[in-house]
């Protein structure tokens, strides 16, 4: 595949996010152009792994391949209050600490079952700190939104119709 085509496809997959090759930008900065947030490349990579843990690659692409983590960052950057953004970033750091304390390794270095255990643990922890809870809520919610509304899912899996051309108010429910 031609490189240009690949870049084009990445652009489309990321829903029109402005992507710049990292060599053109500050080393260590996120690859997505952000207006408000200061996110490092390491943080971005971590978010990609978290998104991939939430929606992994199976016989269809997972969140990382679809660049859903960049959608999460884009939404966080443009659509959230500064306080929520800070909570999210603090929550991300809290997650790093939690991982380190529990597994003595970073999130990237632990196995998938451990990653899942960690995230589900936060999901079910009614006493999770405000920042960890806020981070998880936004991360998971936006990952699901980004995934379900991605071009891949809308055209290949859920097949959303732009032009239905019909309405049936008494459509029988298929009973399997």
């Amino acid at each position: 595949m031609e490189r240009r085509l690949v870049i084009k496809q990445i652009l489309i997959m990321a829903g029109g996010l402005a992507l710049l090759p990292s060599c053109l930008r500050d080393a260590g900065k996120s690859s997505v152009l952000l207006k408000n947030l200061d996110v490092s490349l390491d943080q971005e990579k971590l978010l990609a792994e978290i998104a991939e843990t939430i929606i992994p690659k199976t016989n269809t692409p997972g969140a990382k391949e679809l660049n859903i983590h960049l959608f999460v960052l884009k939404m966080l950057d443009d659509c959230y209050e500064p306080e929520e953004q800070q909570l999210f970033l603090k929550g991300l750091e809290a997650l790093k600490d939690k991982t380190q304390r529990r597994y003595s390794k970073s999130f990237i270095d632990i196995a998938v079952p451990e990653r899942q255990e960690l995230l589900v643990g936060i999901e079910n922890d009614k006493e999770a700190s405000a920042e960890l809870a806020a981070f998880y809520k936004i991360m998971k919610g936006k990952t699901i939104q980004g995934y379900l509304n991605s071009q891949y899912v809308m055209t290949n899996l859920t097949k959303w119709e732009l032009v239905p051309g019909r309405y049936n108010g008494y459509y029988p429910v298929k009973t399997a």
């Binding site: 829903g15 843990t53 992994p56 209050e81 309405y167 429910v173």
Partner: protein
């Protein structure tokens, strides 16, 4: 030099001038040009060509920068526009931004505007119902406002006339309070909407659920094909502009039709500063226009002027049109111009669930939106502690449940596996409000906009009648929902400011008596015969129906009258 002036005046002279290109202005343009009059349509905003200028119309969610959600910075810059449901990434380019067009809110009022060719006809909810004599006789019977100078029989043929051209889907329901019209096939109620209809018919003598009547071409007639419009494709993305012309807008219908006659001149970027009254000639001779790009002030002249700038802006233009003869604004001998503004009370909703009829769901999308409950309160006689009543929307859809717990492959599979939940049902109120002198608009004494036009000050609020009516709506809908076996009923008192209903009306009301009204039975200024107002400003009362269809019919009727009167020399 003098010849040059004469030439310039000639090129600026038309038979008719229409101020505004929205739903009523578009109709005035069509009627005048079809009758052979050289017509100038002035639009303050930019041009929006049908199809060509609908940049988002075929976009998928993922093609919008934030998948449709307006960015926080945009929401913060536009607190008023952001409260409107169409202000999303797919249609926000058709909604006026708060900062660009300020106004003064003596009381909170969310003024939602569409400054472009086509105006709000691109964005409207497309619900269309005729008025009946229960509406036109309302003020006289219930002792408020002034008596309407027309009755149903006066407007019925004009309803038919505009319905045939615009394309209205609906069923002949045979209800005296909501007269039937010239309908294309109605969009059917779904299983639960139909069920609710049956529950109400069995339990109550005068409560009905009908298929919402909407300005969609469910099945085109030749007249729609001739306009270049086709069948509605059930996209329900209407606010983006429809590439099929499936719903009625000035852009898809009346304006291109008017253009085809060769008699239309459309001038966008043209703010009308005032209507020019010639004290010597004793009539209006034209309008004064500020070009929004060049700031140049130009005058245009015509024998007849239609003011269709949208209800409150029409008031603004007339109030700002001062002369020796009319020091308080054009046609404002009685000082009532700008007063008796009213609107529709949309401030309550109710939702619930239904666990029956689970063998059915819906397939495709319903552009009509579902069902409509015509007004049932105080229709045939006064029966409550408040005046008038409310109509209500009613719609049902199956909920899609997804198990979103956990992470990983299980979650991924569950996200694509939708199980049908119970039906979700909902209703919103559309209450008639009573026009009062204390609900008014006027010109701010000091502040002006970028074109030197005074800012409009809006002072409109709910009253005790609205509060009582809202309470009744919530009680009655709760009772009806309970009767139908709906559960988890949730009342939602939205407490929204007036304006967000986008049904502001009045200020230049029609009436018999020049002492108490601004317009006569032909939408003609009592005091200045060659000026007509046929947009929302003309409304004597609001009733509960969505108003656009009535504006269309009043416009076609008024143009017919104006042209006949011109021929007889009566407008001079």
């Amino acid at each position: 030099m003098s010849n040059l002036n004469i030439d310039a005046e000639k090129s600026h002279t038309f038979d008719a001038i229409v101020i505004g290109s929205g739903i009523s202005g578009g109709w005035a343009a069509k009627e005048f040009t079809e009758k052979g009059l050289k017509t100038l349509v002035l639009e303050r905003g930019r041009d929006v060509q049908h199809i060509t200028d609908y940049p988002t119309t075929n976009k998928y969610t993922y093609e919008f920068e934030h998948y449709g959600e307006p960015a926080l910075a945009i929401r913060k810059e536009n607190p008023i526009a952001s409260r409107c449901y169409v202000f999303r990434e797919d249609a926000m380019h058709f909604v006026v931004k708060d900062q660009e067009h300020p106004y003064v809110q003596e009381k909170p009022f969310d003024w939602i505007r569409g400054y472009q060719v086509g105006g709000k006809s691109l964005l409207w909810a497309r619900q269309v119902q005729r008025w009946s004599d229960f509406d036109f006789e309302g003020p006289a019977r219930d002792d408020f406002a002034v008596d309407w100078p027309i009755r149903y029989k006066d407007i019925a043929p004009w309803y038919s006339y505009v319905e045939k051209f615009a394309g209205i889907s609906g069923n002949k329901d045979g209800l005296s309070q909501l007269p039937d019209g010239e309908f294309l096939p109605g969009y059917p109620l779904n299983a639960v909407e139909d069920y609710f209809k049956k529950v109400l018919t069995n339990k109550y003598s005068n409560r009905h659920v009908i298929s919402a009547r909407c300005a969609h071409i469910s099945k085109p007639n030749q007249i729609h094909l001739d306009q270049g419009r086709g069948q509605c494709q059930n996209r329900t993305l209407c606010q983006r502009g429809c590439p099929f012309g499936g719903y009625f807008s000035s852009n898809a219908s009346t304006l291109p039709w008017a253009a085809k006659t060769g008699n239309l001149t459309l001038r966008p970027f043209s703010v009308v500063e005032s209507v020019i009254y010639d004290d010597k000639k004793g009539k209006v001779t034209g309008v004064r226009v500020v070009d929004t790009n060049t700031r140049e002030v130009t005058e245009y002249y015509a024998k007849v002027i239609f003011v269709n700038a949208a209800a409150l802006n029409t008031n603004l233009i007339l109030l700002n049109s001062k002369s020796q003869r009319f020091p308080q604004g054009l046609g404002n001998d009685n000082g009532q111009l700008g007063k008796f503004v009213a609107f529709h009370n949309y401030s309550a909703r109710i939702s619930a669930e239904y666990d029956g009829l689970l063998d059915y769901t819906t397939d495709g999308r319903n552009p009509a939106g579902g069902g409509y409950l015509p007004r049932f309160r105080n229709v045939f006689k006064q029966e409550t502690n408040f005046k008038r009543g409310y109509a209500a929307g009613f719609s049902a859809r199956r909920m899609n449940n997804k198990d979103m717990s956990g992470v990983g492959e299980g979650l991924k599979a569950n996200l694509l596996k939708t199980t049908l939940g119970p039906w979700s049902v909902g209703s919103h109120m559309m209450g008639e409000t009573i026009p009062k002198e204390s609900n008014f608009v006027n010109l701010d004494p000091g502040k002006k906009d970028a074109w030197g036009v005074p800012l409009l000050n809006i002072s409109v609020d709910y009253d005790e009648n609205d509060v009582l009516m809202k309470k009744d709506y919530l009680e009655q809908l709760t009772e009806m929902f309970t009767e139908a076996g709906f559960t988890n009923i949730k009342q939602n008192d939205a407490s929204q400011a007036p304006g967000l209903d986008i049904h502001e009306m009045g200020g230049a009301r029609m009436g018999h008596d020049p002492k108490t009204s601004i317009l006569n039975q032909w939408n003609q200024l009592h005091a200045c015969k060659n000026v007509f107002v046929t947009d929302g400003a003309c409304m004597t009362s609001t009733s509960t129906q969505n108003p656009s269809l009535t504006y269309m019919a009043l416009t076609a009727r008024a143009v017919d009258y104006a042209v006949k009167a011109m021929k007889k020399g009566d407008l001079a």
